[in-house]
């Protein structure tokens, strides 16, 4: 039974030694401009953003860099291995991301979001490559957050390999379909939090709108990672605000403990003292 003091204690997200106050992790891709990206990140309330690692331009390299628009003292940067189709490539990219962040002195420098893809059409993860990349990067000292499917068996294997957070997809990356299989997500959480209730599970991929975030948080996930849902909204700034509210609402509802579902009705107004005839 929680006391009043418990309910006012800070409800932060702990991942691999780092404390995040927001339970939203927001991507930096797909925005119309870097300036819009910066405004949306601020409106979302996030304190952790993902970034990708790509070849620098060899000509005309004096253009803008995303770091000109990201306050690296405010946000923990989480480099991803997006676009990698093998564990070898993911390991290379993770190490390059680490080198980039070390120079910045950002707390995310030993972090990586592992993505090892199996298929360019669906961007579904390659479970074999994902397991291998996780094992190798944990060995190399990274704090690993790993994008995976909602398969509870793979999720448990990834945790066993040392992943600091397992991140099951709600639906394909950028598809906006929300959580397609809440049952699998529930089972993932049951397995991952068995004897370890604080183990962070983050829904990553497929979020489309605010209700998807609220739904995920009500299921009891620890956080939601999203990008396209904000960047491709008609009004991204407004959606960023909506996502912040939805994340908080869903989390509060989860902590509040929802009422049970019932097959039949129970009236909200008293039975006694009704005038007129009873049915």
């Amino acid at each position: 039974m929680t006391s009043a003091a418990d309910s006012t204690a800070a409800d932060t997200l702990q991942i691999g030694g780092l404390t995040l106050s927001s339970r939203l992790v927001v991507g930096t891709g797909k925005y119309a401009t870097y300036a819009e990206m910066a405004r949306c990140l601020e409106a979302s309330g996030t304190d952790c953003v993902t970034v990708a690692v790509r070849r620098e331009r060899l000509v005309n390299a004096a253009g803008e860099n995303i770091l000109d628009h990201l306050d690296t003292r405010r946000y923990t940067l989480l480099p991803n291995t997006a676009g990698c189709y093998s564990a070898d490539d993911a390991v290379r990219v993770a190490r390059l991301g680490r080198e980039l962040l070390r120079d910045l002195g950002n707390p995310g420098s030993e972090w990586v979001k592992i993505e090892v893809l199996g298929d360019p059409k669906t961007l579904l993860p390659d479970p074999v490559g994902t397991l291998e990349a996780t094992a190798r990067l944990v060995e190399d000292g990274f704090t690993v957050l790993v994008y995976t499917s909602d398969d509870p068996v793979i999720a448990r294997r990834l945790k066993d390999l040392g992943a600091a957070s397992v991140m099951p997809a709600g639906s394909p990356i950028g598809s906006g379909q929300g959580i397609l299989n809440a049952n699998n997500l529930r089972i993932c959480m049951e397995y991952l939090k068995d004897g370890d209730p604080g183990y962070p599970v983050i829904v990553d991929a497929g979020v489309g709108t605010a209700s998807d975030v609220a739904e995920a948080m009500e299921l009891g996930v620890d956080g939601v990672l999203l990008n396209t849902a904000i960047a491709h909204a008609t009004d991204p700034l407004r959606m960023a605000r909506a996502m912040k509210a939805a994340c908080e609402a869903g989390r509060e509802a989860f902590l509040a403990g929802r009422m049970p579902r019932r097959l039949y009705a129970t009236a909200s107004s008293p039975d006694e003292g009704v005038i007129g005839r009873r049915a």
Partner: protein, 80 residues
């Protein structure tokens, strides 16, 4: 008897590198830092890989390149 003259390090012909998938010619004995400078990227937030190994920033000036070396010069961009 002829003396075969194989110049693995590039010799007078220079240093043929592949940088981000593009063939580039540099002078013999060029360092990774010299390449970064020549590309106008010194002071930019980049990381360098030579033959699939990350070369830390502090070691770029000591990293001597050979003909045939493959470099990747990368930076952070937006992503999910």
């Amino acid at each position: 008897m002829t003396t075969a003259h194989h110049d693995a390090a590039g010799g007078p012909a220079g240093c043929q590198l592949t940088i981000n998938g593009e063939a580039r010619q540099f002078a013999t004995g060029t360092t990774a830092l010299a390449v970064v400078r020549a590309l106008g990227l010194e002071g930019r937030p980049v990381a360098v890989e030579v033959n699939e190994r990350v070369v830390p920033r502090a070691e770029l000036d000591r990293c001597m390149l050979s003909s045939g070396d493959r470099l990747e010069v990368v930076t952070l961009v937006g992503g999910g």
